[in-house]
Symmetry: C2
Subunit: 206 residues, 2 copies
């Protein structure tokens, strides 16, 4: 398999999951500022021009929640999701859907506002609101979702690397960490895992 | 099971899937303008204050892609997803992730812009851009995703009611239907399915 990623993006979640699974894969780093994601070869793989993209022996996968579910299904011995419990699996998928459709979207209004508006004043308005929207998202996670010690409770799942990845953005997005102690503790514990350290080291390497 | 929905929202996708599955469930209609989704009883079920919410014997589920996956897993005889093929299942999840995190979000900037900005000028700017962003999303679906006759090819899956649901919004969002003939044909065929007609009729009933 090949994982196309860029440092600082949500692709880190898939990267960590592949490491946790013990998968054999090659990481391919894109430089988003150089526009690697818009080059013809990459668009042929992923016409959306985003990361992550996972190339498998069966074909190409995009979208973090789908890649995470695929890794969990493909490496059942790693026990990265409750594969034999339709409800528990759906709960994990619901958490990851919230991260992709609400939390990541709130964050994207800081630097990617041009996706949804054109005027400079609108972009500035969106940026000013990010601390509030990201704060509300993470307080929702803190209060109603993160069961502890892991997202779905005692078991580590594909929800954990995804939460950890978006929690990298908290301080830069102006969220007060003192209001979300469980999230911060989760992030601290996650950062100590060998799979997490390895994925981050690879992304930061030249 | 109980499905909490509101007419005109993405909850229609879950509603249709339950009908396709032959599930026994009760539909509960919320009036979003009256603020039903923010009342304490509902927030106790779904602290996010959104629809859909599916109450099952195992607990509460939110987020359309998760509810759809749960329905597919819970009613395997209905064959609403490729449950025995991890890659094919993930491809279906990737499509639904794109709908929830990109297409629905683009649409939401028309009437829900206050989620991400405060100034009237920003909200107007967002609204002006919706035909462009929704048009780009549906051209991506038309050109790269909708295999035909159904989303993933020959088999009807949980991708189809979700695409059909978001395609309800095309004309009001200013998208030129002539540019997306496959999507429009899919919508027309979907509208003829008994499960779709039944779900819509229930949502429109007093």
């Amino acid at each position: 398999m090949k994982l196309y990623y860029a440092p600082g993006t949500c692709a880190l979640a898939s990267h960590i999951a592949l490491e946790e699974a013990g998968a054999t894969y090659e990481g391919v780093k894109l430089d988003l500022r150089a526009g690697d994601q818009l080059k013809p070869d990459y668009l042929a793989l992923n016409p959306k021009g985003r990361v992550p993209t996972l190339v498998t022996e069966h074909g190409v996968l995009t979208e973090t929640p789908a890649i995470l579910a695929f890794v969990a299904h493909s490496f059942p011995a790693a026990k990265l999701a409750p594969l034999d419990d339709a409800f528990a699996f759906a709960r994990a998928q619901a958490f990851n859907s919230y991260l992709c459709a609400t939390v990541h979207v709130a964050h994207a209004h800081k630097l990617r506002g041009r996706r949804w508006a054109d005027e400079q004043t609108s972009l500035a308005d969106m940026q000013r609101k990010v601390p509030q929207t990201m704060g509300a998202c993470f307080e929702m996670i803190e209060g109603s979702m993160l069961e502890g010690p892991f997202v779905v409770g005692k078991a580590y799942t594909i929800c954990d690397p995804y939460l950890f990845t978006l929690a990298q953005w908290l301080e830069a997005d102006g969220v007060d960490p003192d209001r979300i102690p469980k999230v911060i503790d989760h992030r601290r514990r996650m950062a100590e895992r060998p799979a997490v350290r390895k994925a981050i080291a690879e992304e930061l390497a030249a």
